[in-house]
């Protein structure tokens, strides 16, 4: 149990050696979660991938130049500057292709990614031939190794993450406009192209900052996964940004903590798998559009629909002879519901006291059920009359149209419908003075059961 204790010590920042690493990675996750949200909303998630690959030639060129002029090639600021330049050039390349050719975003990103990475591979192959200059330092940029970071690296990473977060928060209003309505922003005189470039600039910055920790290839996951996971929790941008940043920070925190305890496993991979776990969890239980909630809401809606259809069906079949009962066979013939659906609906309605059995397989509405059924039927018919009057739909078709909408009519809308439709039909019809007559023929229970 020594290892589990070690994990807890690391995660809870009790371990001095890893405290800074874990904090830095969490900050990186926070920043990339924040910025990744904008990328996701702009449907440019793979841009991070492209930029990450585009940093390779810049990185290698900086290394080469540095070696040529007598350095060891391992100076981090120089390498990062080179990477930044490469990423920036890649971003410009994508924007250029998008602007001047008819190719779409995906092709632009694919082209820049592969061509820049090819150039990087060429330069790397040349670096490897330099006697004495080992390219081992560059390897860590590909797969990421938190452990190899020294104190200054960590400060650079934290500084970049904080800077990127601040920038993203500062331009938050402009980016929101860019993401949701580019053309509106354009028409309002916003410098959309420059904002686009600024967003990509911040993405480049954070990508370069993260290269050393999680590696070139997996940096993109940090930009995409927290943002995509946060979408399952909310629809509002402010909350989205907050949740995404939080998820990013948590994955960075846990991932860095875990990989500090498991030194053999590549850090980038561990961090990304933590993010993936967050994503899968959100996909399942996310409050806004997680799978479990969606299925739950759908079943609830379906149950309610069946219930309301059932009450209205019984009511309409016995409208001319109130208090009479209908057989289950007649009910089954009335709508295209399955036997199981009908049985369940009947059982639930019985339990809630809306209908009661008069004989075996024969049902009638209770007084409570009649009140509810009149309300439902009224909604249905009000909508039918509305469609007839205002939407010019044939009487034979309104029933089906009203079927789909009647379950979601709220009281306010019903009152407005009454105000409009109320004067169109005669008052005081039958036993229910408030109920409009049906605009089409309704099969009565006696006709059905006798046939």
């Amino acid at each position: 149990m020594e290892s589990s204790e070690a994990i807890w010590r690391t995660v809870l920042l009790l371990d001095y050696n890893t405290r800074l690493v874990v904090l830095a990675t969490a900050l990186l996750g926070l920043a990339s979660g924040l910025i990744g949200t904008f990328l996701l909303l702009r449907k440019r998630s793979l841009m991070g991938d492209t930029l990450a690959h585009a940093t390779l030639p810049g990185l290698s060129l900086a290394f080469l130049l540095f070696v040529t002029f007598g350095g060891s090639g391992k100076s981090l600021p120089v390498l990062l500057l080179g990477a930044l330049a490469g990423g920036g050039l890649g971003a410009l390349g994508v924007l250029w292709i998008r602007k001047y050719t008819r190719l779409k975003d995906d092709a632009a990103m694919g082209i820049v990614l592969s061509v820049f990475f090819s150039a990087g591979v060429v330069l790397l192959s040349m670096i490897q031939k330099i006697p004495g200059a080992s390219a081992a330092g560059l390897e860590s940029f590909l797969y990421g190794s938190v452990a190899s970071m020294v104190l200054t690296d960590l400060y650079v990473l934290m500084g970049a993450a904080i800077f990127a977060t601040a920038l993203a928060l500062l331009c938050h209003k402009e980016f929101r406009l860019l993401c949701f309505d580019e053309h509106f922003a354009l028409s309002q005189g916003w410098p959309v192209r420059r904002l686009d470039a600024a967003l990509l600039g911040i993405v480049t910055l954070i990508t370069v900052a993260g290269l050393q920790a999680v590696g070139l290839i997996l940096m993109i996951a940090f930009l995409i996964i927290p943002a995509a996971a946060a979408r399952f929790w909310t629809d509002r941008l402010d909350l989205l940004l907050l949740i995404s940043a939080l998820l990013g920070a948590v994955s960075g925190w846990l991932g860095a903590g875990l990989s500090a305890v498991l030194p053999k496993a590549p850090a980038g991979a561990v961090i990304i798998l933590c993010a993936t776990a967050c994503f899968i969890l959100s996909l399942l239980v996310g409050r806004q559009s997680g799978l479990i909630w969606r299925v739950y809401r759908q079943t609830q809606l379906k149950r309610q629909t069946t219930h309301q259809h059932l009450l209205r069906a019984i009511f309409e079949m016995t409208e001319s002879r109130p208090e009479s009962a209908v057989t289950q066979g007649a009910l089954a013939a009335r709508r295209s519901w399955t036997r199981r659906e009908l049985c369940r609906g009947i059982r639930r309605a019985c339990k809630r006291g809306f209908i009661e059995a008069t004989a075996s397989e024969e049902w009638k509405l209770t007084p409570l059920g009649i009140v509810e059924a009149i309300r439902l039927t009224r909604n249905h018919r009000l909508w039918e009359h509305y469609l007839l009057e205002y939407a010019d739909i044939a009487p034979a078709h309104v029933d089906h149209n009203a079927d789909t909408i009647e379950h979601v009519l709220d009281p306010g809308l019903v009152r407005r419908l009454e105000a409009r439709i109320g004067k169109l039909y005669p008052k005081g019809h039958g036993m229910t003075p408030d109920l409009p007559p049906s605009p089409h023929q309704i099969a009565q229970s006696s006709e059905r059961s006798s046939s």
Partner: protein, 295 residues
């Protein structure tokens, strides 16, 4: 610069790779799935790792099968997340391939102990080494041809791709340009999608093994995109793709031999140079067609 038989074979392998991937790339570009090559190239890692763990060999059919299966899984998961979780296509692709890549890295490093099956060897490949792995010797009028394994594998892949494209040309054209109309006319867009994905997975994996992934990703997109700038019609686009692919392979290897000496290096990665030349040809194509501003 001295040109050897070796160099001829490198160019031939490069051309075969460009042709077999470029043909499929046309359909990927038209369907706006250009990043699929990159995604598959990363996502096959766990397949390779599991194949390696099961057999303990670096080159076996099981590795190939594992890689193709994970490639297909990538396409399947991407579509699933896209449809059921309502995550945008690019993002769902990104989620799937990075997660699979991470799993692959951990499997390889964690379970295989020392990394005999090196990740960077999968990613970069070595087209320069392909002529050394001779599969077949033929003597033609006194000249002994030593056909490399990569050339053989890629030829088979190319022939399969050509056959499938000829067989399903009408369907793919229709589903690429107008999937809704294709569905309305009774062609299954979904089936064609997965057929294309399966073929892409097989081709990319076969080509990675032979020449490394970067040249495959480049040849999958760049020549078709350049061809798309030059023409609107599918058949000329396929022909342009082939021409640009051939030119990239030939000029790329030449450049790899001639340009580095100018800076005092012996030579550079041919695969990388082929990608760079393809990029240059793309820029040429973009500049030679009337540029237009999109608003």
């Amino acid at each position: 610069m001295t040109w050897l038989w070796l160099d001829t074979w490198i160019v031939v392998v490069g051309i075969l790779c460009a042709l077999s991937t470029g043909l499929l790339g046309n359909f990927l570009v038209l369907r706006r799935m250009s990043m699929m090559g990159d995604a598959i190239s990363h996502a096959v890692l766990p397949g390779l790792a599991i194949g390696y763990l099961l057999t303990g060999e670096r080159t076996s059919v099981w590795l190939f099968i594992g890689a193709v299966l994970t490639g297909l899984l990538t396409a399947f998961f991407t579509t699933w997340i896209n449809r059921n979780a309502k995550v945008e296509h690019g993002a769902s692709m990104g989620i799937v391939f990075t997660s699979l890549f991470a799993i692959g890295l951990i499997l390889m490093v964690g379970a295989a102990g020392n990394v005999e099956l090196d990740a960077s060897c999968v990613l970069f490949g070595a087209i320069e080494l392909t002529p050394l792995d001779v599969a077949w010797q033929v003597s033609l009028g006194g000249v002994v041809l030593e056909i490399p394994r990569a050339a053989l594998v890629l030829s088979v892949v190319l022939i399969i791709n050509l056959l499938v494209i000829l067989l399903f040309f009408k369907e793919w054209r229709l589903t690429s340009f107008d999937p809704d109309m294709a569905t309305a006319n009774g062609f299954s867009a979904g089936l064609m999608h997965y057929l294309l994905m399966a073929l892409t997975a097989v081709t990319t994996v076969a080509a990675f093994e032979a020449v490394g992934s970067i040249i495959v990703i480049a040849m999958l997109i760049v020549p078709p995109a350049a061809a798309h700038l030059l023409t609107d019609r599918l058949v000329p686009m396929l022909i342009w793709t082939a021409l640009i692919g051939i030119a990239s392979a030939l000029l790329g290897h030449l450049a790899a031999l001639t340009i580095p000496p100018l800076f005092g290096f012996e030579d550079a990665s041919s695969a990388g140079m082929m990608g760079v030349v393809a990029g240059c040809l793309f820029t040429l194509a973009a500049l030679s067609t009337p540029l237009r501003r999109r608003t």
